[in-house]
């Protein structure tokens, strides 16, 4: 059953089983996105993911299918994360994207390319990291990422181009593999 059919069931019959199917189908993408935004804080990511799905249920009538349902969900998740960060900025420090001083080895040591890639990703700007996460790790198109990030399509393309340039530079030691 497609997302649209499930959404129609929820709207017409308040079908909880249909909504449960939607949650199971998209929970991984939403939680991974929030895990990315919350810099690995799984508890915070799950709390925000629950709020995201609850808000999606309450506001489902406002979803008119202009985008994929997942894209809409990720947009809600991003707003919840930003609001939570804004609320708690003055109290407890919420984990957020920060430029980490993780050094990239000048010469490849072992075959730990993935470790170096993760370190290199952390050196990108938050917007670049999120664009890379959405387009490569979540598999969204550039246009869908632009909807989630609420920015022009050209901005997403610029973030990705600069991110890849930066990654190529940071991972130069792995050439010619990259």
């Amino acid at each position: 059953m497609t997302d649209s059919e499930l959404i129609a069931r929820v709207l017409v019959d308040d079908d909880r089983a249909a909504f449960g199917t939607l949650v199971r189908r998209h929970q991984s993408a939403v939680r991974r996105f929030l895990l990315h935004l919350a810099n690995g804080d799984a508890a915070l990511a799950d709390d925000l993911a629950q709020e995201t799905f609850l808000q999606a249920y309450l506001g489902l009538a406002r979803f008119h299918g202009e985008s994929e349902f997942l894209t809409w969900l990720l947009g809600i998740a991003r707003n919840y994360y930003r609001n939570a960060r804004r609320r708690q900025r003055d109290t407890t420090a919420l984990p957020e994207h920060e430029l980490k001083d993780e050094s990239i080895p000048s010469q490849p040591r072992s075959a730990d390319l993935h470790h170096d890639l993760a370190a290199a990703l952390h050196q990108l700007s938050p917007d670049q990291q999120t664009a890379v996460h959405l387009c490569y790790q979540q598999g969204l198109s550039h246009a869908e990422a632009a909807v989630v990030l609420d920015c022009p399509l050209g901005t997403v393309k610029t973030h990705l181009a600069r991110a890849k340039d930066e990654l190529r530079h940071l991972l130069a030691a792995w050439n010619p593999q990259i």
Binding site: E68, L140, S141
Partner: protein, 121 residues
């Protein structure tokens, strides 16, 4: 959902993008969906209320028709109006009207406070 506009321009791009796409392991549900469903508000009773209202209205009309079936010469609408006026005639007596008013208020109150409960249907 595959990217629609990721067209690597160079072999280097292709290798880097393939590397970036590798980490797509889905997260296990681990009861997350159940927790979300438990957070949802109680079901809406809008449809059930409509059905109940229709049943009450049908019952009232049937009761009036059964109670006052003697107006064969009148049109159905006129007969219904006469029956209704006969049924409401006790309201013209002050005490009876007061009691009926209280009963009506009790019924309205029961309808309004029942919204938080699960549907009867």
């Amino acid at each position: 959902m595959e990217p629609a506009n990721l067209n690597p321009s160079t072999p280097d791009d292709a290798r880097l993008e393939a590397l970036l796409r590798q980490d797509r392991t889905p997260l296990p549900d681990d009861g997350f969906s159940q927790r979300v469903l438990a957070l949802l508000p109680p079901r809406q009773r809008r449809r059930a209320d409509w059905r109940r209202l229709c049943l009450y209205a049908a019952g009232a009309v049937a009761g009036l028709v059964i109670a006052y079936p003697h107006n064969h010469q009148l049109s159905p609408l006129t007969a219904f109006t006469v029956s209704l006026s006969h049924a409401l005639a006790p309201l013209s007596h002050s005490w009876a009207g007061l009691w009926l008013g209280l009963v009506a208020l009790a019924i309205v109150y029961a309808f309004s406070t029942g919204d938080a409960e699960e549907s009867w249907f």
